[in-house]
């Protein structure tokens, strides 16, 4: 819900959703096809700048925590990659922790950092896109890309009812809390189970009622948009492709510039 509120209050909400998507995808792809760490660092900076502009530097705590959690997962993933180096290459760190054989090579260490920066840059860019693009705008972008209408309309339906069901679930949780539904672990589990089952039953009831209500409003399989978001202009294509090409050459030029092993060597005595 916070994400939805954030997207509607974003300063970028009126930008073309298709343009934003194209821009983000272009940067993500260029980040993946270049082997230089510099490119993901640049795309990460662009992502952070866009997010800061979009939210007017007011990133909600819950979103900040979500980003931190994602970074933590990436740290763990990259850490695993770094310690599973190729045994034919010389190790910069070798050992055993519990059941894990650690064999870190220069290549695996640099690769882990590259993957980490790519992932962080990707998440930041996608978050910048998500916190500035409400789902109906995204659906409209899909429509203009001639996605199958069944998929697009389903996205809109799921989006609408997800909120209603979530609200219902929270009401049930509160109601259970009022009746000491969290008094003990077993009771808590039972309360959550009951709320989930209740939400599921409610979803079926809601589906029936909503179908009738939509019929009353002359719904004929298409959700019209009252104020369609801006369509993608040539400027978006030119800027996105131009920046992607530029970053590609920057990547090629800066390949091997940053060696993470050399950076960390004084710290770890490699």
């Amino acid at each position: 819900m916070e994400m939805d509120e954030l997207s509607y209050s974003s300063r970028m909400v009126n930008w073309s959703p298709l343009g934003k998507l194209f821009f983000v995808m272009a940067l993500l792809i260029v980040g993946l096809i270049t082997d230089s760490i510099v490119v993901p660092l640049i795309t990460f900076t662009i992502g952070v700048a866009l997010m800061a502009y979009s939210t007017n530097l007011k990133v909600p705590l819950i979103l900040g925590l979500a980003i931190l959690e994602a970074i933590l997962i990436m740290v763990l993933g990259s850490g695993m990659i770094s310690i599973m180096g190729d045994h034919s290459a010389p190790a910069i760190w070798e050992g055993k922790i519990l059941w894990f054989d650690i064999y870190m090579t220069e290549e695996s260490f640099n690769k882990a950092w590259l993957i980490f920066f790519r992932a962080v840059a990707g998440v930041t860019l996608m978050l910048a896109f998500a916190c500035s693009t409400p789902i109906p705008h995204l659906a409209q972008a899909f429509r203009s890309l001639h996605f199958p209408s069944e998929i697009t309309e389903l996205i809109v339906l799921v989006y609408r009812y997800a909120f209603l069901l979530l609200e219902k679930f929270l009401v049930m949780i509160d109601a259970a809390q009022c009746r000491l539904g969290y008094n003990g672990t077993m009771t808590t589990m039972r309360s959550y189970g009951g709320a989930m089952a209740g939400t599921f039953i409610f979803s079926m009831e809601l589906a029936d009622k909503s179908e009738a209500a939509l019929a009353c409003r002359n719904y004929n399989g298409y959700f019209p948009i009252f104020r369609p978001p801006k369509s993608m202009s040539w400027a978006w294509a030119v800027v996105s492709i131009g920046l992607a090409v530029l970053l590609y050459f920057v990547g090629e030029y800066t390949k091997g510039w940053i060696n993470m092993v050399q950076l960390f060597a004084p710290l770890f005595g490699w």
Partner: protein, 377 residues
């Protein structure tokens, strides 16, 4: 009067293994009428509304719209629904889009209305329900009452010929409830037939000309409200209660040893019947529009000092919204009550409501009270 809807021996069950919700149901709705559909929970009111809009097809009997049986084809239903709009009891079942204005525009856009026209309708409908400032807000950020208003605005924007409102005042604050009834009157005066189902007996008693009472899927009563409420056993059987004004009239008439008839339906009529007032206060009637309401209000308070000011109608209220006017809700009743008490008042109203003022003055004559109206043509 032209008959708009006719239901003949309609039987409908959600599931053949369950007892029918509507059982041999007969109903007639006339054009321009103020129809109240009353009944306890589970009496079949919502099913009735869905049957009228063609969502439910009766297993037996038929529904006639403007004299022709409803056609359950895509085209037939589209024609029916472009004339009939429904406001459902639970707004979450009705409102769909993510933004307020998007949802209000949903119906008209589905009808293929021109975008400029849709824009105009959305602005007007949102203003009528006092939701203009929420136009660009996501619906999940609104409270239950606000969502209800959006649902009503969505129906208003369709410019229907018949408006069916299922519990329109449930979950609304008293002022918003009054506004809904006011809106119903505005629509009726502009030629829309309004049907309201509600459990708020007091509000609907004041408003309805016809009451149709449902009980276990059948029509228990159809006609003048007083006839129904005069039979307490029947009222009890239908799971309802008698309105406060009706009860008070019975009791005070009994104490005074007079005939309960004519039956007052609102505060001013009740006061007129029992006050025995000799002198009428003057109601300075000022029909206004959105453009001139403020100027007329300022002129009125300059002319008539120390009088109460009532504002009736969303346009006038909207025009005076920032001017810190100390006006009263349900202004028409309040000003007429003042008149009965011999006090002068100023009534600023949307000009569309002029017939209503005359109607109220005429009804007060039935109670032997001649209202002094100034400025009412």
């Amino acid at each position: 009067m032209v008959e708009l809807f006719r239901m003949e021996d309609v039987t409908f069950a959600h599931n053949p293994s369950l007892p029918p919700v509507l059982n041999g149901f007969n109903l007639s709705i006339e054009e321009g009428s103020r129809t109240a559909i009353l009944g306890a929970n589970g009496a079949g009111k919502t099913t009735l509304f869905y049957t009228l809009t063609g969502v439910y097809k009766p297993q037996q009997g038929q529904v006639l719209f403007k004299g022709s049986p409803v056609e359950y084809t895509k085209e037939g239903l589209r024609n029916l629904r472009s004339d009939v709009a429904v406001v459902l009891q639970n707004p979450d079942e009705q409102i769909f889009c993510s933004l307020v204005e998007e949802d209000v525009a949903f119906g008209p856009l589905n009808l293929g209305v021109d975008r400029d026209e849709v824009e105009e309708r959305v602005t007007k409908a949102l203003r009528d329900v006092r939701m203009s400032e929420y136009a660009r807000r996501p619906l999940q950020q609104l409270s239950g009452g606000q969502r209800k208003r959006v649902a009503i605005a969505g129906a208003l924007a369709m410019h229907p010929k018949i408006l069916i409102m299922d519990e329109p005042t449930a979950g609304l604050d008293p002022q918003a409830s009054m506004e809904v009834m006011e809106m119903a009157e505005r629509l009726r005066l502009s030629g829309v037939t309004v049907m309201i189902s509600t459990h708020d007996i007091d509000i609907v008693y004041k408003w309805a000309s016809i009451s149709d009472v449902l009980n276990s899927g059948r029509i228990e009563f159809s006609g003048n409200s007083e006839e129904f409420y005069s039979d307490p056993e029947r009222v009890y059987r239908c799971g309802l209660l008698t309105p406060t004004v009706f009860n008070m009239n019975l009791d005070v008439s009994f104490i005074n040893g007079i005939d309960p008839s004519p039956y007052p339906r609102n505060c001013c009529e009740f006061t007129a019947k029992f006050s025995g007032a000799s002198r009428s206060g003057t109601i300075h009637c000022i029909p206004a529009g959105e453009e001139d309401a403020l100027a007329k209000y300022e002129a009125a308070i300059a002319d008539c000092r120390d009088v109460d000011v009532g504002v009736y109608g969303s346009n006038s209220r909207y025009a005076l919204r920032d001017s810190r006017v100390n006006f009263r809700f349900d202004a028409m009743d309040a000003c007429f009550t003042d008149a009965v008490r011999g006090r002068d008042s100023v009534l600023i109203y949307d000009s569309v409501f002029e017939p209503l003022i005359k109607e109220q003055a005429a009804r007060l004559k039935e109670f032997g009270f001649d209202t002094s109206l100034e400025g009412c043509r």
